[in-house]
């Protein structure tokens, strides 16, 4: 899967691309208190009128360097990674670097955490900022000494004049450098990889010590003078109107300051993750508000929930799968003619459930609507820009009057690309006339998510006599609203094996869905990989071919396919079959794939490959089952190609291992079901996240191909799901075609 699905993140739209297509200009000035303030300006042209300037580097006279991290930190490590890029080129020591989280501000361009885009969008621009700073400091030293700048070099925050051995620290040079004009960013020379001093080094998270001191970093930790606390109760049936509530009784409860009903201001707010109807309770302490919920009685306007249940979805999917599809996504060759001449035909139906994100920090936001109408917000959000716009629209104010502080985020996974909690906090705070911290309880969090969409696939494929697929069809039954595919519920037209099987059809039918869906870590891929890579495995076995060898044969000889069209001003890297081959062969080598027949009976190895977010990942799972059918994962191997440079190995291995275990948890346990328009699960006892005793060893290998580095928050997740199911097939002879895995299907009979 490529381009289309990976960059269509909310908020990653037009502005994201601007970072690449716009030119960047550098400016310099004196920092408050002395020293260099190096600024980066993104502009279409170097005119003064659109001169929006962002401060990225501050060098104090004592040599302490403060770097700005522009994107939210959600655990993906960007608050550490982006400053590492600047610091290395600037030639300062990491121990002298301090990092400040930026506010939401148009001067930074797009500020978001999504699509694994932090690295590809910022890899070059951040290095250039650092390199330009270094050039200016060298220039300042050369002019101080009256020597040619070519005789000067920088290292560890010190400029040295080679012939004389004289040195000046950055701290001493900073004010002088600030008076120099900044070099052209496009022409600054960047280091060669062998010159890196920080990039590629194991670098701990910049905020980790503070987290372990219990310092207030997360959104939930926000505290303002005079602040109240709030809860907001919404209808369990998505988007129902609040008719009335026992407001008087609630207001009389101890510690309660106020209670009131809020109404949605926009149509379809429930599926669009805007403000929906609910009852706000404001208290001096959050626990008082939470306790009052037990006494709250709300009359919700009944709305039709016909067909809005998991069993009804399943029945509808089965019915639609047997009918003609509603639309065609892609059609190559002549599927029906090809299937008619196939030596073997394979058919299978796959399905997977809705999922909740269940970030461990529940949704929360602190807001203050001031007397002058301006708004200040402290939000754990992945996507503050659209959040501010949503608040502006809902409150009817100018977005320029909203200031958003990006707090540390206790887990994103795509949930916080939506900003429903932000607009709730702002509306409640406006009503309260004082700062309010809104905090959802866990049932509210699980039952008011933007869910990973469920889906159903009716596959049919034909093999030739050699076992190679010559015909492939997927009738994808997905969800939508009024004939439009729901958020993150689409099948990209270039999804594998499209392009590799001459006669292929991707067709689609929609089930009406009245609840919100949205991106979840590796949107599309987290579901589609399971279905497609499991079915490819079925085809390999049906055709008597090694699943590794069949994949290598399908991708064919190493070559770079035609580049997809530019999207949002971004160049989308072309797919390189050689990189796919590279990780497949590497994971086979590391896992001992060729020797798998020597494994004891009842133990199997499964393999899968997935391309997403510009990353190439192949994984092998070794697994068996207990007598009761419970899967036992012995070990997972991953081979990952995200380019030539791992910027921070500390974060990279952690992201890959975590993503793989995240996927494993989805395969084993995670399941959101719907009954009469409401989500059944309500807490972490019934929505069962993976625990440490279920986490097997995960061995990750990076393949350093000569390509620009790309992101790693998402690409390692999808392959583990099909790799596990493919391993269980070898171990038990039973094929898992529905998630989560039902151990009863794997029991020895």
């Amino acid at each position: 899967m490529s381009g289309k699905n990976t960059v269509q993140q909310p908020g990653a739209g037009a502005k994201t691309g601007l970072h690449i297509s716009r030119r960047a200009f550098l400016g310099a000035g004196l920092a408050v208190g002395g020293g260099l303030l190096l600024t980066l300006r993104f502009a279409e042209k170097a005119s003064a009128d659109d001169a929006t300037i962002a401060a990225y580097i501050k060098i104090a006279p004592d040599g302490i360097v403060t770097l700005t991290a522009k994107n939210p930190e959600i655990g993906q490590g960007m608050k550490t990674t982006l400053p590492m890029l600047i610091a290395d080129e600037l030639d300062v020591e990491w121990k002298n670097v301090r990092v400040e989280q930026a506010m939401l501000d148009p001067i930074y361009g797009a500020q978001f955490a999504g699509g694994s885009l932090g690295t590809p969008l910022n890899w070059i621009p951040m290095q250039r900022v650092g390199a330009a700073g270094r050039e200016m400091l060298i220039g300042a030293a050369a002019s101080t000494w009256g020597v040619p700048r070519a005789q000067c070099e920088a290292s560890k925050g010190v400029v040295r004049h080679r012939p004389s051995g004289r040195t000046l620290t950055y701290g001493a040079l900073a004010s002088k450098a600030a008076s120099l004009s900044a070099p052209d960013l496009d022409s600054v020379a960047l280091k060669k990889p062998e010159q890196y001093t920080i990039i590629g080094k194991f670098t701990g998270g910049i905020d980790s010590p503070s987290v372990l001191e219990g310092e207030p970093l997360f959104g939930i930790d926000t505290r303002l003078p005079g602040m109240s606390y709030a809860v907001y109760e919404k209808s369990p049936v998505f988007g129902s109107r609040a008719v009335r509530a026992n407001i008087g009784e609630i207001k009389a409860l101890p510690g309660i300051r106020d209670a009131f009903i809020l109404h949605a201001t926009e149509r379809d707010a429930a599926v669009r993750m805007g403000l929906v109807d609910g009852v706000a309770i404001i208290a001096d302490k959050w626990w008082d508000a939470q306790k009052a919920l037990q006494k709250l009685r709300v009359e919700w306007e009944p709305r039709s929930v016909k067909g809005q249940s998991t069993p009804a979805f399943e029945r509808e999917a089965a019915r639609l799968a047997g009918d003609a599809p509603q639309s065609v996504i892609r059609r190559d060759g002549d599927f029906h003619a090809a299937i008619a001449r196939a030596a073997k035909v394979v058919e299978a139906s796959y399905s997977y459930p809705f999922l909740a994100h269940a970030t461990l920090e529940p949704m929360n936001c602190t807001a203050h609507v001031k007397a002058d109408g301006s708004v200040e917000i402290w939000a754990p959000t992945q996507n503050p820009g659209p959040g501010a716009k949503l608040v502006a629209r809902t409150l009817g104010i100018d977005a320029g009057r909203i200031r958003v502080h990006m707090t540390r985020v206790g887990g994103g996974f795509g949930r916080r690309l939506n900003n429903d909690y932000m607009v709730e906090a702002a509306m409640i705070a406006r009503h309260a006339g004082r700062p309010v911290k809104l905090l959802w309880n866990r049932p509210q969090d699980i039952q008011h998510d933007s869910y990973r969409p469920a889906g159903f696939h009716r596959f049919k494929a034909g093999l030739d006599a050699s076992g190679r697929p010559i015909a492939f069809r997927d009738h994808f039954i997905t969800f939508g609203q009024s004939g439009q595919v729901a958020s993150s519920a689409g099948l990209p037209r270039n999804h594998f094996p499209a392009g590799y099987v001459p006669s292929l059809e991707f067709v689609q039918s929609l089930i009406q869905l009245d609840m919100p869906t949205g991106p979840m870590r590796n949107p599309g891929g987290n579901a589609l990989a399971f279905a497609f890579e499991s079915f490819i495995d079925e085809l390999a076995h049906a055709g008597g071919r090694d699943p590794l060898e069949l994949r290598l044969a399908l991708y064919g000889p190493p070559r770079v396919l035609p580049a997809p069209p530019r999207q949002f001003g971004m160049t989308i890297p072309p797919f390189d079959t050689g990189r796919a081959r590279g990780v497949l062969e590497l994971v086979a080598d590391k896992s001992g794939w060729a020797r798998r027949s020597a494994l004891p009976a009842g133990t199997g190895m499964g393999l899968a490959f997935y391309y997403s977010h510009f990353g190439y990942v192949a994984e092998v799972v070794k697994a068996s089952v207990k007598p009761d059918g419970t899967p036992q994962v012995h070990k997972i191997w991953a081979a990952v190609d995200i380019g030539r440079q791992i910027i921070n190995p500390a974060g990279a291995y952690n992201q890959a291992q975590g993503a793989i275990l995240d996927g494993l948890g989805q395969a084993l346990h995670l399941n959101i079901t719907v009954q009469d328009g409401r989500v059944v699960q309500s807490n972490l006892n019934t929505y069962r996240l993976l625990r440490i005793d279920e986490a097997p060893p995960v061995e990750v290998h990076f393949l350093r191909s000569d390509n620009d580095p790309t992101g790693l928050g998402e690409p390692a997740l999808p392959p583990v799901l099909p790799a596990l199911c493919n391993a269980l097939y070898i171990a038990t002879g039973k094929r898992i075609r529905s998630l989560p895995i039902d151990p009863r299907l794997l029991r020895s009979t």
Binding site: W286, L360, N683, L690, A695
Partner: protein, 161 residues
């Protein structure tokens, strides 16, 4: 009601309802926000503190049940020898991603090592399975516990299934 509790070695007095969970006393009355709210039903471990040296879920521990039991939170755990070692190992191995669960992880890991300074993988599973890490940093949590204990950190479980 007025309650007097001993938190990280300091006597604190709070005015609270008897059924208010210790979690909200720590977070909203005493502004010790390192202890986190995750589920409210003792299912995730984000709110783990030590009560009399034993891990307890602050989200389901009413303030009235605390009595004279000394409470230690993430803000105070570094005062103990094991707490200091665990935190150091956590930073050395860069365990955390989002970090939201990690205070609870560190509290449970410290209690484990205090009781059992050379835990096996099975001991780690048993002690730590109540603490969810949504980022699934379990590989490094396991390694960091072993590092704090001075044990080899390589994951050798596959060799002895």
């Amino acid at each position: 009601m007025r309650f007097s509790i001993l938190v990280n070695g300091t006597r604190r007095t709070v005015e609270e309802e008897a059924d208010t969970p210790l979690l909200w006393v720590l977070r909203d009355d005493l502004h010790l926000v390192g202890t986190k709210f995750g589920c409210g039903i003792a299912a995730c471990g984000a709110c783990t503190v030590h009560l009399n040296g034993v891990p307890a879920r602050a989200c389901v521990t009413p303030i009235s049940a605390v009595g004279d039991a000394p409470i230690v939170t993430i803000e105070g755990i570094g005062e103990s020898d094991w707490g200091r070692k665990v935190k150091a190992a956590w930073l050395e191995l860069d365990v955390m991603q989002c970090g939201y669960c990690q205070a609870g992880q560190v509290m449970t890991a410290t209690a484990l090592l205090t009781k059992n300074p050379r835990p096996t993988d099975a001991d780690i599973d048993e002690a730590m399975r109540g603490n969810i890490c949504r980022c699934a940093t379990y590989t490094r949590i396991r390694a960091a516990i072993k590092r704090a204990a001075g044990l080899p950190t390589a994951d050798t479980r596959e060799q002895r299934p």
